[in-house]
């Protein structure tokens, strides 16, 4: 018995050391810190931090923060709705800037317990909301003047792009935003979505007006929406579906969009993020819809 206990003890000690060592080996090395003290959660906020020239303050980001490209070099704390409490603490932020909807609640409770300032920046789908976002980020990073200037520039750019788009749209086109076309089932963007807002800013009519939020669509609903143009995000996976495949779907085959093969693809964060690039996004969409 004695010898067996000794063996068991040796084995368990070995297990402890092995697991501890394994954990240490898998972890990323400590990065040099410098002035960085902020964790940004939400692609548009990360963009704003860069636009304010404050990127040296960024410690880490979430999965949705993919622009500018150099942001992707920052450690990624995961998807904003499924944040790991210890993961967030491990990047050791003194400030967390977050879009609405970060979670889960248990993680937020732990962060509160750890007394890390957590600023939720309100969102919205118009020029004023973008300006307010920029001001809130500037306030948090202690660069209010720069933020005020940027906010005015950005909202003016959005207003101008939108006004030009409305002027160019002599006959407004009906645009259907397709979030995904997984397995031939379309998920579309209705009212109170970033997609609906940006379509209207660019002089289009949201073909799904009257539907609330992002919803899976029946084939007949798609046909009834009678879109002139399909708008999609340009990313990997099923979004890379070619126009040919997309318009071969029975639901879309009988729409005006299929006749002309009108499919517009744009970068998702640029299109739906409502950040510094929104003016450019409106202009780009209007250009694609109505030409020069």
């Amino acid at each position: 018995m004695k010898r067996r206990s000794f063996h068991a003890l040796a084995l368990s000690t070995a297990a402890y050391l092995a697991l501890g060592g394994l954990g240490a080996a898998l972890l990323p090395a400590e990065a040099a810190r410098g002035e960085a003290d902020t964790l940004a959660i939400g692609g548009s906020l990360t963009e704003i931090v860069y636009a304010l020239g404050q990127e040296h303050r960024l410690l880490a980001r979430d999965t949705t923060s993919t622009y500018p490209p150099e942001a992707e070099a920052l450690p990624d704390v995961g998807y904003m709705r499924a944040l790991s409490p210890e993961g967030v603490l491990s990047v050791n932020p003194d400030l967390i800037l977050s879009e609405e909807g970060a979670g889960p609640p248990e993680t937020l409770e732990v962060l509160e317990e750890a007394a890390i300032p957590f600023i939720t920046v309100p969102g919205g789908f118009d020029a004023d909301a973008v300006a307010a976002k920029i001001r809130a980020v500037g306030e948090a990073l202690d660069v209010p003047e720069a933020a005020s200037t940027l906010a005015e520039e950005v909202s003016a750019e959005i207003e101008t792009a939108s006004a030009e788009a409305q002027a160019a749209a002599d006959t407004p086109k009906r645009v259907l935003f397709v979030l995904s076309a997984q397995g031939g089932r379309l998920m579309g963007g209705g009212d109170n979505t970033g997609a609906g807002a940006i379509i209207e800013m660019a002089g289009g009519i949201n073909a799904l007006a009257g539907v609330e939020g992002y919803k899976p669509l029946s084939d007949e609903a798609v046909t009834a929406a009678a879109p002139d143009v399909i708008l999609m995000m340009d990313r990997e996976g099923d979004h890379a579906a070619s126009a040919e495949e997309l318009f071969a779907l029975p639901a879309l085959a009988v729409t005006p969009a299929a006749e002309t093969g009108a499919l517009i693809k744009m970068d998702g964060l640029k299109l739906l993020g409502f950040g510094p690039r929104t003016g450019a996004a409106v202009a780009e969409l209007a250009q694609a819809l109505y030409g020069g």
């Binding site: 067996r4 206990s5 068991a8 003890l9 084995l11 368990s12 000690t13 297990a15 402890y16 697991l19 501890g20 394994l22 954990g23 240490a24 898998l26 972890l27 990323p28 400590e30 880490a60 999965t63 450690p75 990624d76 704390v77 995961g78 998807y79 709705r81 499924a82 790991s84 409490p85 210890e86 993961g87 967030v88 603490l89 491990s90 990047v91 050791n92 909807g101 889960p104 609640p105 248990e106 993680t107 409770e109 732990v110 317990e113 750890a114 007394a115 979030l179 998920m187 939020g213 992002y214 919803k215 899976p216």
Partner: protein, 361 residues
């Protein structure tokens, strides 16, 4: 978790020679030590650099812990460890009891629709939770989903029982079929809800389905731990009866096993343990099938040792899986259901291959 007494059943069955049982019981010690090692490792492994040694040292010197150390250890790692131990033990023991009850090595809490019912509860809470009046939402708030999952698990168990019990006699075959029907029904209702869900809710559903211990908190544990402790302890007393049941219900009744009462107890234990586990951790698969199986291969099918060994190994396995999920993509986190599936699925297939031609499944 570890201090389960082993009710010494007199040897009524001729199926397991004493020496084999003694060997299976010696596994208790090994597994308990493994569990302690794994538990200590889990307290010291994580995305932050907080180390158990440093904390122990500064405590020994009488220094104050830093806020970071206190939060990481007390509010993150410790509740997660306890939850991992509890959920792992609950899932593994539920699997072992189910397999004994149905006399089928592939039975699992998922099979009687308890997991499906719990899952439906959770989905209802995620999708319809936003429609609640704010006053109610404030009360339930973050704990709405686990609460609903637990209720869903219980309701489906009661339903099953009603369907399968006639004049005090519970038919296992009817229950199996009812469980399949219940699972299909829960799946259909979940499908409707998924159809109604918006984009962010869909993502929540996906993450919930993959399971995670990330939501561990003392509040959740206070709700789930007593239920799991009571049901796992209750299940550990079923060893002798489950051994007898392996000979068939009639035979077991002749030996003097109160078959009906024991079946009722077993079902209640499985429902409670599974409901509570699913409620706090979402969908974690394979533990209930793989753990009892490995133990049967290692030390035979005697339930008197198997149930306790399942609790120990299940707890250790889940804590290891959680450690992997915490560090492999740090500072982000991989849902633990992915880890258990990656670890469990190949083992499960290997078991199937080994058993082909040996056992008629």
């Amino acid at each position: 978790m570890v201090a389960l007494t082993d009710p010494a059943g007199e040897l009524t069955e001729a199926e397991a020679p004493r020496s084999r049982l003694a060997r299976a019981r010696r596994l208790h010690l090994w597994l308990a030590l493994l569990l302690i090692a794994v538990a200590l490792a889990s307290l010291t492994v994580g995305a932050t650099g907080v180390q158990l040694w440093d904390v122990a040292r500064s405590l020994a010197r009488g220094e104050e812990l830093s806020r970071m150390e206190r939060v990481v250890l007390m509010d993150i790692r410790l509740p997660r460890l306890v939850m991992g131990l509890a959920v792992g033990a609950a899932l593994a023991v539920s699997g072992a009891v189910m397999q004994g009850l149905f006399r089928n090595p592939l039975a699992d809490p998922g099979i009687v629709g308890v997991s499906a019912g719990a899952g439906l509860g959770a989905i209802l809470a995620i999708v319809l939770g936003t429609l609640l009046p704010p006053a109610l939402l404030g009360f339930a708030g973050a704990h709405l989903v686990p609460l609903a999952a637990f209720l869903g698990g219980w309701v489906s168990t009661i339903l099953l029982y009603r369907v399968a019990t006639r004049r005090g006699h519970t038919s296992v075959a009817t229950m199996l079929l009812a469980g399949i029907a219940l699972g299909a029904l829960a799946g259909a209702v979940s499908g409707v809800l998924v159809y109604m869900a918006d984009d962010s809710q869909l993502r929540d559903l996906t993450f919930w389905g993959l399971g995670s211990l990330a939501g561990a908190s003392w509040t959740k544990l206070a709700a789930a731990l007593p239920i799991i402790l009571v049901t796992v302890a209750g299940a550990s007393f079923l060893g002798r009866s489950l051994n007898a049941l392996a000979l068939g219900e009639a035979t077991a009744a002749h030996i003097g096993i109160p078959v009906q009462r024991m079946k009722r107890l077993a079902i209640l234990c499985v429902a409670g343990a599974t409901g509570a586990a699913v409620a706090v951790s979402g969908g974690i698969g394979f533990v209930g099938i793989v753990v009892p199986h490995l133990l049967r291969l290692a030390s035979g099918p005697d339930h008197r040792a198997l149930l306790i060994n399942s609790a120990l190994l299940g707890a250790a396995l889940l804590v290891v899986a959680d450690m992997i999920s915490r560090v492999i993509v740090a500072p982000a986190e991989l849902p633990i259901g992915i880890v258990t599936a990656v670890l469990g699925a190949p083992v499960f297939l290997w078991i199937l291959l080994r058993q082909r031609g040996v056992v008629d499944l």
